[in-house]
């Protein structure tokens, strides 16, 4: 899995980390506009591919604050186009051009 900026098979996923503290993990860069190509010549990119890519390319420190096993750690909500990924198939959610993926760390403060 790599990054592609060309026109062929260039999957653009807009990552936002706008709410909840995950910016700590990403060098305080809250919004990532990235192009990710599907793995192994597959036609579609899914959330599993994307998480692998995020872990390899964006999360430099303390990956346990973001991932647990193959998925996100407890307490993180994943939103694809402003919808809980539970509604679209979690890791199997397929992504299309211009999809917006947001990771939200739940807050407890008051």
């Amino acid at each position: 899995m790599g990054m592609a900026y060309g026109h062929n098979h260039a999957w653009e996923s807009v990552f936002s980390f706008p709410i909840g503290g995950l910016e700590l993990l990403c060098d305080s860069v809250k919004i990532h506009n990235v192009n990710v190509e599907p793995q192994d010549g597959a036609k579609k990119l899914d959330m599993k591919d994307l998480l692998t890519w995020v872990r390899g390319n964006l999360i430099k420190e303390r990956p346990e604050m973001f991932m647990k096993g193959d998925t996100v750690r407890p307490g993180i909500l994943v939103l694809v186009n402003d919808c809980d990924w539970e509604l679209s198939g979690q890791l199997t959610t397929t992504l299309e051009d211009k999809d917006v993926v947001v990771f939200i760390s739940t807050l407890h403060g008051g």
């Binding site: 993180i76 809980d84 509604l87 739940t106 403060g109």
Partner: protein, 286 residues
Amino acid sequence: HSDFGHGLSPDMVYRYSRHLLLPTFGVQAQSNILKSSILVIGAGGLGSPALLYLAACGVGRLGIVDHDVVELNNMHRQIIHREEYIGQPKVKSAAAACLSVNSTINIVEHKEALRTSNALDIMSQYDVVVDATDNAPSRYMISDCCVVLGKPLVSGAALGLEGQLTVYNYNGGPCYRCLFPTPPPTTACQRCADSGVLGVVPGIIGCLQALEAIKIASTVGEPLSGRMLLFDALSSRIRIVKIRGRSLQCEVCGENATFSRLRFQEFDYEKFTQSPLSTSPLKLNL
């Protein structure tokens, strides 16, 4: 003695006239509010505006749970408390402020920490619960108790420059555990006392909590159930996202859940989340 046939005295008609004028609110919704009871758990950053607006709008019986005392480092955001109450119980200070805004309502002071031993008794006395606490074990405990008692829960949170809001256990919607079946690692559970918070951020979320509680109590409008509001103060961005519905597999509210009152009373929320229900704040060295 005259009540114009709608249960409102002339003083009440005058006090709530701006609500009564609203075509989508009016006498019926105001009467519902006057007959309702709402419990606010936590008289801190979120609870301050939530309590003031719930008192002002005429909630018939308004309960406050808190075991803390007012401190100077609360004053930057906990606008319900006056400096003269520093060192005194927050419940007492908050109750006085609510009554000073609306002396016609009934305020109930619960000057104790919410625990599994008293939560069922306290929460069962109210129609709607507002979670204005500041830690993970309290959030699980309050949500579970709302499921056991069948109460809608208005849940808000604020930390740093960000806030979140949703309504749980409302009309078949999800509970807190449907969304978060497993507690987060303790390293991910920051508190305002440790990490700071811009004072007006819980102000905004607390006002929004009052609004949701008012909508539920008055049965007007669409409460924020199955949706979550995400607020980023720095960029002034707000996202309202669609979240999952009730989970059939939820251990507390799901199809085969056996989470009874007894189970609740025996559940160890501090062990479950590996964090304490209350802590002393970090000392700041500048």
